[in-house]
């Protein structure tokens, strides 16, 4: 009996010991719980800031050898590959295999960040309203930005507007048109939510640095979306607002200075974050040895691109470098680790593109002279004479050529342009054979990563993969 009672006491004692207190732990020091993040101004700002930081830091979407400028440029006709890197070879010869998950995973991870931000900010009562408005604008702008690349690289893509993985994990592909409508809606909201001046990290003080999206950045992307969507009138309207905002934006006359930080031509730039580096695009494009020798500089500019420049084109002199007979993109001038302060920022949106957008929109609306004048602004800065094109068809060709020369090696413009203008099959058939590959129309869309197809039962692959 005595023994029994001892047992009873012990068991009761153990029950007391076995309480929740014994398993209470400290919160982790390496992070914050999301409800905390979106409960204060500073941490909410930090959450949006991380998107810009990661675009330039931990992720590859915009960065150097893994970025869209180099990879989509390789897929198109801008670069020649000297490296035996398989991944780059797949882009170069337009033979991506479906196991390749370049771009997709990162883009959707960013979409998630935007969706969480939109959800949390909309519900937050403790973030001050001005900050909240600005951050919501930034999140919507960035969501549209990421979807812009998703639809234009992959075609129809799942349009995800929630952070709920239960819904997203079984999403099927949304028609491209619907994704575009959402982008337009997001950008219009961003237009209203964002301030027209550029803000610093506190989202209160104005700054000369154009490193956070503002109302004009939303406009610039919106006019591009309208253009891609064939909404010529809106494209013209919106691009005009930027071109007319001469107090903030003007073309930089010296081509060597276009890509400097705080350039007057810049509508949205990203600040390089990796210590001792400027832009990683500059780092990988600029040649200081033969291309392909180091994995950092695997490409040169293609002869077809270099050959397209008029010899008097100042862009050939100032934006194309030459090392040992190899031409390279020299829009950014600084390569490699340097101890000098950062002077070049990554250009996301710039005014010259708006002139080209308006020119094209005007041609499509049969305003040839208006288009000519826009095109000539770009040409004259490049030291070229006025365009001789006078018909709609010849003007469209002239604008396309001008886009090729003005926007080369920037954010994959060329690849998206030849797709958009349905010239891809013609151009790529000849380019592919020069690269020793064979073009097939299905290659215009990249494969959806196989893992995604395997994991999301409602997702179908693009044809041919």
């Amino acid at each position: 009996m005595k023994v029994k009672s001892i047992f009873v006491i012990i068991i009761i004692g153990l029950q007391i010991l076995g309480c929740k207190k014994a398993i209470e732990i400290d919160p982790p020091i390496s992070g914050l719980v999301s409800s905390t993040v979106y409960s204060s101004d500073a941490t909410s700002i930090a959450a949006l800031t991380s998107i810009y930081e990661r675009l330039m830091g931990e992720t590859n979407f915009l960065n150097g050898t893994q970025g869209i400028a180099l990879r989509l440029g390789l897929s198109a006709d801008e670069f020649k590959l000297y490296s035996s890197d398989i991944n780059l070879s797949q882009f170069y010869t337009n033979s991506l295999v479906s196991t390749n998950s370049t771009f997709w995973n990162e883009l959707y991870n960013f979409v998630y960040s935007c969706n969480v931000a939109i959800e949390q900010l909309s519900n937050s009562t403790s973030v001050s309203s001005m900050i909240k408005q600005q951050l919501l604008g930034e999140a919507k702008f960035m969501r549209a930005f990421f979807y812009f690349y998703l639809v234009n690289i992959y075609g129809d893509v799942p349009l995800l507007l929630t952070s709920d993985y239960r819904i997203n994990s079984i999403a099927s592909r949304t028609p491209k048109a619907q994704v575009i409508q959402q982008m337009i809606a997001d950008l219009k909201e961003a237009q209203n939510l964002l301030t027209s001046n550029y803000l610093g990290a506190d989202l209160i003080a104005s700054t000369s640095e154009r490193t956070r999206p503002n109302k004009w950045a939303a406009n610039a992307l919106l006019s591009r979306v309208y253009l891609y969507n064939g909404d010529w009138a809106n494209a013209e309207d919106i691009s005009s607002t930027l071109i007319n905002n001469t107090t903030m934006y003007s073309l930089v006359s010296n081509l060597n200075n276009v890509f400097l930080k705080n350039s007057s031509e810049a509508i949205f730039q990203l600040q390089p974050v990796k210590p001792s580096y400027n832009t990683l695009d500059g780092n990988s494009f600029i040649l200081t040895s033969n291309p392909g020798i180091s994995s950092i500089s695997p490409v040169s500019l293609s002869s077809s691109l270099v050959g397209s420049f008029d010899t008097t084109d100042l862009r050939l002199a100032k934006w194309v470098g030459n090392y040992n007979g190899y031409y390279y993109a020299n829009k950014y001038k600084i390569k490699g680790p340097t101890t000098a302060p950062v002077s070049e920022y990554y250009m996301v949106l710039r005014l010259a593109e708006q002139y080209l957008i308006r020119a094209e929109a005007r041609v499509q609306q049969n305003n040839i002279s208006g288009a000519q004048s826009d095109l000539n602004i770009i040409r004259s800065r490049a030291g070229l004479t006025n365009t001789t094109a006078a018909t709609k068809a010849s003007m469209l060709t002239a604008i396309n050529r001008e886009r090729q020369l003005e926007l080369f090696a920037e954010c994959g413009h060329r690849w998206l342009d030849i797709k958009r203008t349905n010239t891809i099959d013609v151009i790529m058939t000849s380019i592919a054979s020069q690269k020793g590959a064979v073009w097939n129309s299905n290659m215009a869309l990249l494969p959806v990563p196989l893992d995604e197809i395997n994991k999301d039962p409602n997702l179908v692959q693009n044809p041919g993969y």
Binding site: S50, S84, N105, K455
Partner: protein, 1123 residues
């Protein structure tokens, strides 16, 4: 002093002598705690009687005539009748009865004398009657030949029982054969038996030793040495919170003892378990020092392949991490067991079924590995030294193309592609010296690793305090070019103190190991071999600098640049534990286990300036400094209670666990270091970046066990645990686990003993219960944001770290086991056969998600049901056992089966394209390869309709390949002849694996290939070939090459038989040792992975990777000396 005479109390009930005698026996056996006090008083009384050495019986009736009839009745029965019917008493030494013959007698009213004469005529003894007392006496006539049936004089025998190494054996049973007379040895192994027959046979037995018989033959001093039992059912088996014997265990536990571990020249104890434990698959993933081992007990239960299903490791009661924190590249994450010195281990016990593991509750689902370190032993101070030295080389390598074959392949590729080789796309053909040939396999991994190991220990102590102190060092180099080494220094101690009254006991031990691993910072060079052409240029220029060959090396650069990147890892591992126990009452003990483990990792990863091709413009070095610590505390108060109930013994245990783990890390990234000499100084960096992490895990539980052993025949074991863990969100933290185990030793049943006498042991056991799995990271239920690496606009960002789910709960693993253990011919053949069936439900996994959700997984419970079942067989035989020659064999085989049983809404889940319901989790769904199309020279595959295609899609994956082993096991043979001992362990695995048939696109620049690619398509009509045309373009041929990797083409037989361990040792003859004043001197040769028989086409069938170093074959010689 204890008397050795026992009463032959065949007398009437109620007699006081009888009661005293019984009580005394009971007290001696300490089986009846409640009576202890009373007994102490009675003890004195009893002793008085015993000293008299007499057996007295009395009866009230005064009558001298006896009536009795009986056929073959024991003599005692006649005596009993005489006592009942007359007033005579008997007085004799009990041992007479041992020799008494049965009698057949029929008398009616006969006199005492008549009856006694009749009974005694054939007995080996005689009688005397003095008054009313009948004495039994020896027969008066002298004995000519002493035989067993002859009784000698009564003498007192003293002696000592020791083990083979001369250590005293405490508590050994010393009995006189055929009687229940006996005693036990004291703390120093001494015993004495008073007044026994000088011709008696003494039987000495102790748990863990072979019983030994010895004829007294008149000697009064006996020194008895017991051999360790090789296959004893009474060997100690370590189980959760205690130990049992193989005989009485209701669970499934496989023990690997120090003798087996010490025979193997390994630096990670896991390596010593390969092929020895049924149901456990251990795969060495790399031959690099400190490399990871994949450990799986009874199959994979987690749907997510990322979840390791690691067992729970407990070292001397302290839970030990299953994951290394090492940041070294190339070791596949490393193994934390690498920081445990194998020679400190006494035994490794692998717990498999519910009965054995349920008491570990939430952590026991994947099995439990209990590691017990060596403890101190009583005796004079002993010194033991053991040292070995040896060499190692990789087991196997695949043969690659030589220069001529490589150049042929490249030219053919250009020809096939109709492309002209240029100096830009083919420097290997046009720029380099094509007469050069380097066997890169030999250059990069063909070296010889050197092993040196030395261990010394001191142990000894008296009855109350014992100590063990040991230390040693280990050094091994690598097979890579360059001076890399892994050095270890270790120390181990154990102190045991017992109070004089034996109530209080303290045992404390500690192990410390410091590891200094000077290794490669850029991974395993094995992975470079296949990406260098055999005609590649010289490594070094004349001035000793790396030859960059004008950048023609290709994408990977000069492979030796990677060897310049240094990894310097220092790991300090301290494990200590203390067990305090106090005997409150007889049978009732309080215990407190306290444990502490601290692992400290200090690592530097340094990239020197010379690593960079000068043309890259990078002229600075960089370093990464990592400091991590893992601290774990555990306190486990327990109460155990033992009581005799009826003919059985009930043992109960109740306890609680309080555990806390803290994991802290500090990373410092230093860039822009301008001198290689300053690489280890973060101050020299122009830019610094740091990351800090910390996580905490707390765990709390109550556990209990009830064990009842009835008549040493029927066994019942109940265990239970209530667990709480900080890894779960509010409301989900606590859960209950439990198991029931039962055993029936049927060989103890009479009818078995009568009809199946060849059966020396037979046990049937079964268990069923639940255990859980908590192998998810900390804080998974929180929606966490982490800091971005860099700052933007001067602000450090915060971004989502994971998708979160606050509602996940415990994963439950239900285990069923049925076991049969049979010993035949005195246990010379011992068979253990087990069937198990485990079902894992409510799976707690990182559920795979499409990346479009933002992340690729989320911690979640799945309603999926995974079943692991299987049969395990273990057979130990003692084939030959003579004085000089012994041969024993141990064989084990496991046949596992894994199955995804259920998965609600499977077709819409993210695993729909990976798994198949009813099939194992280890499958790959692949295309069916149709060979090479003779016209195009490209591979073709079968689509789902059976038609050939070049572009198979997901739905065409119709072939299911299962890469899990079909069966596996090991066979060990031990031969002993005089002082020689030979051990051979063969490991075998039957499996299908990914063959190494080709490397990245055969024909592409710089990628060397296995020679199998030579059987390729060259032109149409060229006959059947295995390999498609060579190509150097990443177009069509590349696409088909990629498809081939997802087809049945690359799978093939990866079975192997491996001479895992061989050990030959020679124990010096006794007289030599005596001359040299050595207790022990053994010379040995040990080998690991000596021979591999396989049809596998790649490097090694065990790790199956062209990019990871194959395991090493190691040969060492050594000496063991005991003073």
């Amino acid at each position: 002093m204890r008397t050795e005479y026992l009463l032959t109390s065949q007398f009437d009930k109620g007699m006081i002598f009888n009661a005293i005698a019984r009580s005394f026996v009971a007290m001696n056996k300490r089986e009846n705690a409640a009576l202890t006090k009373m007994l102490r008083v009675m003890k004195l009384t009893a002793i008085l009687f015993f000293i008299a050495c007499i057996h007295v019986s009395a009866h009230g009736l005064a009558q001298d005539h006896v009536t009795f009839a009986g056929r073959d009745v024991p003599l005692e029965q006649v005596f009993s009748a005489i006592k009942k019917q007359t007033s005579y008493l008997f007085l004799y030494n009990e041992s007479y009865m041992k020799y008494a013959r049965k009698v057949t007698i029929s008398v009616k009213n006969a006199s005492i004398k008549e009856v006694l004469d009749e009974c005694m005529k054939d007995q080996p003894f005689d009688y005397n009657i003095e008054g009313k007392t009948i004495f039994l006496v020896n027969k008066p006539e002298p004995v000519k030949v002493k035989s067993q049936t002859t009784l000698g004089n009564l003498i007192e025998v003293k002696g000592r029982v020791v083990d083979e190494s001369g250590e005293p054996i405490v508590g050994a049973n010393v009995t006189i054969k055929g009687t229940s007379q006996g005693t036990a040895t004291d703390e120093n192994g001494y015993f004495s038996l008073a007044v026994i027959d000088e011709n008696a046979v003494i039987l000495v037995s102790s748990i863990g030793y072979e019983a030994h018989e010895m004829r007294v033959s008149g000697k009064t001093t006996l020194n008895i040495s017991l051999r360790k039992a090789i296959n004893s059912l009474d060997e100690t088996v370590v189980i959760a919170y205690g130990s049992t014997t193989k005989r009485l265990n209701t669970g499934n536990v496989t023990s690997v003892k120090s003798t087996e571990i010490e025979n193997q020249p390994v630096s990670n104890p896991l390596a010593a378990l390969e092929g020895r434990v049924p149901g456990m698959v251990i795969t060495q993933t790399t031959g690099m020092a400190g490399g990871a081992f994949k450990v799986q007990i009874r199959g994979r239960s987690s749907i997510n392949p990322q979840v390791g299903n690691n067992p729970l490791y407990i070292i001397d009661g302290v839970p030990y991490t299953s994951q290394s924190l090492s940041n070294q590249t190339g070791v596949n994450g490393g193994s934390p067991l690498n920081f445990i010195n194998p020679s400190d281990i006494e035994s490794i016990d692998v717990l498999k079924d519910a009965d054995a593991t349920a008491i570990y509750g939430s952590r026991g689902a994947n099995g439990v590995i209990l590691i017990t370190t060596k403890t101190a032993k009583t005796g004079s101070t002993k010194v033991n030294f053991n040292g070995y030295s040896g060499i190692g080389k990789v087991t196997r390598t695949a043969k690659l193309l030589n220069t001529q074959q490589y150049l042929e392949m490249r030219h053919e590729a250009f020809h096939n592609d109709a492309v002209l080789p240029t100096s830009a796309n083919a420097p290997d053909l046009l720029v380099w010296d094509t007469t050069r040939y380097t066997d890169w396999t030999k250059e990069l991994i063909g070296g010889t690793a050197r092993f040196t190991d030395g261990q010394i220990s001191f142990s000894g102590g008296n009855a109350n305090t014992q100590f063990l102190l040991g230390g040693g060092c280990h050094n091994e180099t690598t097979v890579f070019p360059g001076t890399f080494s892994d050095k270890k220094i270790n120390a181990h101690f154990n102190i045991i103190n017992t109070s004089v009254n034996q109530r209080f006991k303290l045992s404390t031990s500690g192990s410390f190991l410091a590891d200094k691993n000077n290794s490669l910072g850029n991974g395993d060079p094995t992975s470079y071999i296949s990406s260098i052409a055999p005609d590649a240029p010289k490594i070094y220029n004349a001035d000793g600098t790396l030859n960059w060959a004008n950048g023609t090396w290709g994408f990977n650069g000069n492979p030796y640049a990677n060897l310049l990147v240094k990894y310097l890892g220092k790991t300090y591992n301290l494990i200590s534990n203390t067990l305090l126990s106090y005997r409150i009452l007889n049978g009732l003990d309080f215990k407190l286990g306290l444990g502490y483990n601290n692992m400290q990792y200090n690592e530097i990863l340094a990239t020197p300036i010379a690593f960079n091709d000068p043309s890259s413009g990078i002229n600075t070095g960089s370093s990464e400094f990592i400091n991590q610590s893992l601290t774990s505390f555990i306190a486990e108060p327990q109460i155990t209670y033992e009581i005799k109930i009826g003919d059985g013994k009930l043992t109960s245990l109740v306890g609680t666990t309080l555990q806390s783990n803290t994991n802290q890390a500090h990373y410092l990234f230093a860039d822009g270091i301008t001198s290689d000499a300053l690489l280890e100084n973060s101050q020299a960096a122009t830019s610094l970046r740091s990351v800090d992490t910390k996580s905490q895990y707390k765990y709390n539980a109550i556990f209990g066990r009830l064990n009842y052993v009835f008549r040493n025949k029927y066994l019942l074991n109940l265990t239970g645990r209530r667990d709480g863990s900080s890894r779960f969100g509010p409301g989900k933290q606590f859960s209950n686990f439990g198991a029931i185990g039962a055993g029936w030793i049927f060989s103890k049943e009479n009818f078995i003993q009568q009809h199946f006498s060849f059966l020396s042991f037979g046990k049937l056991r079964a268990s069923y219960g639940t255990s859980g799995n908590d192998q998810i990271g900390d804080y998974q239920f929180l929606d966490l944001y982490k800091n971005s690496s860099y700052s933007y606009q001067g602000l450090v960002g915060l971004y989502p770290n994971n998708l979160f789910n606050p509602d996940f709960a415990w994963e439950i693993n239900k285990k069923f086991e049925l076991g049969l253990e049979v010993g035949l011919i005195k246990d010379r053949i011992f068979i253990s056969l087990d069937y198990f069936k485990n079902r894992s439900t409510n799976q707690l996994v990182g559920y795979s998600l499409p990346a479009l959700t933002g992340f690729t997984s989320i911690t979640n419970n799945l309603a999926a049901k995974v079943e692991n079942s299987g049969i395990e067989l273990l057979v130990n035989t003692s084939n030959i056992s003579t004085q000089n020659f012994k041969w024993s064999t141990s064989f084990n085989i496991s046949i596992p089966k894994n199955k995804l049983v259920e998965y609600p809404n499977f077709s819409s889940s993210s695993y729909a394209n990976t798994y198949v319901i009813g099939q194992p989790l280890t499958i790959s769904k692949v295309y069916h390869w149709l060979g090479v199309n003779d016209t195009t020279g490209l591979y073709q595959y079968s689509n789902s309709k059976g038609n050939p295609t070049y572009s198979p899609t997901t739905t065409d994956r119709t072939v299911i390949i299962n890469t899990a082993p079909k069966y596996y096991g090991g066979i060990q043979n031990t031969f002993e002849y005089n002082g020689f001992q030979l051990d051979l362990l063969f490991q075998f695995v039957k499996q299908i694996g990914s063959q190494y048939l080709f490397n990245i696109l055969p024909g592409s620049f710089g990628n060397n290939q296995p020679i199998s690619v030579l059987n390729r398509w060259q032109n149409s009509g060229g006959g059947p070939v295995n390999y498609q045309m060579f190509s150097q373009k990443f177009t069509n041929a590349f696409k088909e090459y990629t498809n081939a990797k997802t087809s049945d083409f690359i799978y093939g037989d990866a079975s192997f038989i491996r001479l895992k361990n061989v050990s030959i040792s020679y124990q010096l003859p006794k007289r030599w040792k005596q001359k040299a004043h050595l207790q022990n001197c053994r010379l040995y040769v040990m080998g690991q992975n000596i021979l591999t028989i396989t049809r596998y086409k790649g490097n090694d069938p065990e790790n199956q990777s062209p990019n990871n170093l194959p395991p090493l074959k190691v040969l060492t010689i050594g000496i063991q000396i005991g003073l």
